[in-house]
Amino acid sequence: MTSAIELAGVWKFYGDYAAVRDVTLNVEEGSCCALLGRNGAGKTTLLRILAGLSSFERGSAQLFGVSPRQAHAGFLGHGIGVYEDLSARENLHFFARVAEVAQPESIAAEWLERVGLANASDMLVRQFSRGMRQRLALARTFLHTPKILLLDEPFTSLDDRAIAMLSELLVESRRRGATIILSTHQLREAMVIASHVALIENGRLRHAGERTEAMLDDPGLLYRLHA
């Protein structure tokens, strides 16, 4: 199996605090890796490094052999990355054009349908509820069918149906060969979707491997093993 994502000995400092410490991680092409860890462990920092949004001091990071800045992964961060004063449709049009998608209009309409915002497509984002925003942000991220998806707590504020919709999106993305890393605190959902898990604690990678049956039955297992 080829590695889609390769991190080797990466350190990231904020001032003199090391938020990521000597992390070496390979994610196979086509797998879905759940990045787990307590608040402040360094999940967001790691994902931002992979998205090319954050510099790091030591080590190397590569996505399909190129630097994160060149890989243009689909990235969904804590901030959701859509404009408050544009409508849902305008947002998707804009980001579709930015991503150089072939038919921005029809793709945008299709995605509005998929994430259940077809009725609200001409409302401004500032009029959206929190969950509707998150759905729009998901559409924005998946829109250009990126080969690598970096999702930071994508389940936030989603209702049961939207969670099912996102799970389906993830399964479908894997089927077309995309590689996924997602961080989350919703262990149960994560275990169902993930093929691999990684646990990060105080910036250090404590575990990385396949998601086992035992984890599926007891989502909190990993935390307890490394307590």
């Binding site: 001032g15 003199d16 605090y17 090391a18």
Partner: protein, 229 residues
């Protein structure tokens, strides 16, 4: 080692300055038109030149930082700008005094004077901005960019007397006119004093850089402590 170089440079500068001052006041005669005051030239113009050279050195270090991401280059750029700024201010002040004596006014908005003042403002802004940014990589990155933009103005300062008819005298120094505009004895002292002032600047830069790198060492030691923990 670096300390010794700094002390050595400072000593050389002091010796040279003493010699120059003796030559200036005891050997050279008063100038025909201006009288005694013309001697301010020996500080006025070299200070300007050293300042401008400094900005280009800082430009070089800024570009070096951007290609190497080596913080040493960043602190060198910053200390060079700081020292250059001091000499630019010396140039402004001596020029003002001279203007008061010769032209009867402290200041006028001609191209040379204006651009020289703007240059000081730009690099003052550079220092203010550096102080406002706490994160070291961000500070180095942004101030390097600002330094590159600022140096465009230094070119304007230098060329302003060629481009515009100004109150300020046109080019006189040999390397710009091809020679002949300045008395050789005067030119000799002029360049000697230029050298002296350049040495003072180098000594100051060395001291400033040492302070900066000490601060950086403390920083990285602290990181190391965290790394071990």
């Amino acid at each position: 080692m670096r300390e010794k170089i700094a002390i050595g440079t400072a000593a050389a500068a002091a010796a040279l300055l003493a010699n120059n001052l003796y030559q200036m006041f005891m050997v050279l005669p008063d100038e025909a038109l201006q009288g005694a005051i013309y001697r301010i030239l020996f500080f006025h113009a070299p200070a300007a030149l050293v300042g401008m050279i400094g900005y280009f050195v800082a430009l070089t270090f800024s570009i070096l930082y951007l290609s190497s991401k080596n913080f040493l280059h960043d602190s060198l750029a910053a200390s060079v700008v700081e020292v250059s700024l001091v000499f630019s201010v010396v140039n402004l002040v001596t020029g003002s005094i001279w203007a008061r004596v010769i032209w009867g006014i402290w200041w006028t908005w001609d191209a040379r004077l204006t651009s020289a003042l703007v240059c000081v403002l730009i690099f003052f802004g550079y220092l203010v901005m550096r102080r406002a940014i706490e994160e070291p990589t961000q500070r180095a990155r942004l101030s390097s960019a600002l330094c590159i933009f600022g140096c465009v103005d230094v070119v304007i300062v230098y060329k302003s007397i060629d481009w515009f008819r100004t109150q300020h005298p046109g080019p006189v120094l040999d390397f710009r006119t091809g020679g002949g505009k300045m008395d050789p004895a005067m030119a000799h002292i002029f360049w000697l004093n230029f050298l002296a002032i350049l040495l003072v600047a180098v000594a100051l830069v060395l001291v400033r850089t040492r302070q900066e790198s000490t601060a950086r060492e403390i920083d990285s030691l602290r990181r190391l402590a965290h790394t071990a923990a």
